[in-house]
Symmetry: C2
Subunit: 217 residues, 2 copies
DNA sequence: TCTCCTGAAATCGTATACATTATTGGGATT
DNA sequence: AATCCCAATAATGTATACGATTTCAGGAGA
């Protein structure tokens, strides 16, 4: 959630990045306890930077702390997933509306290129990265760095669930069709249409993920 | 930004709360360096919980870290204030829209009571608390705890600037008129009107605060 | 079977030491 | 006099060791 940490590569930041990736890839599963001594040993650091890394991840919502019992990988209930999507819709819609008038031809071409790459991508992790890049490309001209950080945080929270979900379904095809509708509306400068397509895009993803998590329960 | 820490009263949380209050009240001013040893001594704790408190405040945007130079009370540029208000509008509008259909008579009465208290309140700190309570009362029925946390975080970021600004102006009267318009629209269940009044309310506050900070520069 | 107790394990916090990085202030040089 | 360099200082960032507290599991006893 921080904005200005420059190129800080403190131990805590490095560990947070590593843990974030592991949570994201599902190596560390939801609900799994994160033992401080074990992790400190694994990364070859003391408990101080490790705890600070966990605090950072707690702020991002990826880790939950239970007093005197330590940290676990945060688990999201279907309700929480729905809430996060609700927030994503509010923030991403606002970002997109502000960005559309400032979109350049280069931005649109970049979006198109990313969609083409998405069509080719088989690896789910990279697919999800590209998916974020597409969205970020459309929001970036709004020139609101904090807003982008917050949206990315929300995105990261859902990402790990989305990945396990995507593995079994052909969600990607539908998603790509929606992406193209959004991009097309952006090209026309049609804010209302782009906003509508984006909201549909996120709402459908939300509904499918919530349904998936509910039945998995 | 955390959601579930129960009633955790760890040292770090207690210190974070104390520092938050001091920043908020202007005892710790923007840009002021936060020396770890000094603060640790002042609170009678070691550096570990103190650093964790600073990390927590960093996540909330109240503190900025400069690598190897420590922490300072975060400073907001006019652009950043505008951005935060932009995010507030997006999130609070969404919250209000979802809450209005669920508002009970008790909620509306509570809002009315808070407005009456606001009319009487002279102390700026308490006025700001009540101001938040009013907004929170209207959003709470949306039953979205994370959303509420995020809105509160944004609110806290601007609060300390708003307080110094309010001190010199009679912003409160205009604000109260807008509050009453919002509440009235909520009573009628008129989502569009309530949304419009809320957006105006926040936009006007944003414009005045940005103008104030720009000329103070 | 239920309750209570005990002990292991983990967290939380303190104290201390040390390496690294910034900062500063006083010369030395131009 | 102004600038640059450099050493002294100060603060951060991290490691290590230790003690206190809490949680939790499992066994003893009724």
């Amino acid at each position: 959630m921080s904005v200005n940490q420059e190129n800080s590569l403190s131990s805590a930041d490095a560990i947070a990045r590593a843990l974030r990736a592991e949570i994201w890839q599902g190596i560390l599963k939801s609900g799994q306890p994160l033992r401080q001594d074990e992790l400190a040993g694994r990364f070859g650091v003391s408990k101080i930077p490790l705890r600070e890394a966990l605090f950072q991840l707690k702020a991002e919502g990826l880790v939950a702390f239970y007093p005197n019992r330590g940290a676990v990988v945060a688990e999201l209930s279907p309700d929480e997933v729905e809430e996060i999507y609700f927030m994503r819709i509010a923030l991403e819609d606002a970002a997109l509306r502000r960005a559309i008038p400032k979109l350049t031809v280069a931005d649109l071409l970049r979006g198109e290129q990313i969609l083409a790459d998405l069509d080719q991508e088989q690896n789910i992790g990279r697919w999800s990265d590209l998916n974020w890049e597409f969205h970020a490309t459309l929001y970036a001209p709004a020139k609101m760095p904090r807003l982008m950080e917050w949206i990315k945080t929300l995105h990261n929270n859902i990402g790990r669930y989305l990945i396990t979900y995507l593995a079994g379904m052909d969600y990607q095809r539908a998603s790509q069709a929606e992406h193209r509708q959004i991009l097309e509306a952006c090209r026309r400068g049609d804010i209302q249409a782009a906003s509508g397509h984006l909201q549909t895009h996120l709402r459908l993803a939300s509904e499918q993920l919530v349904a998936f998590l509910s039945q998995r329960r």
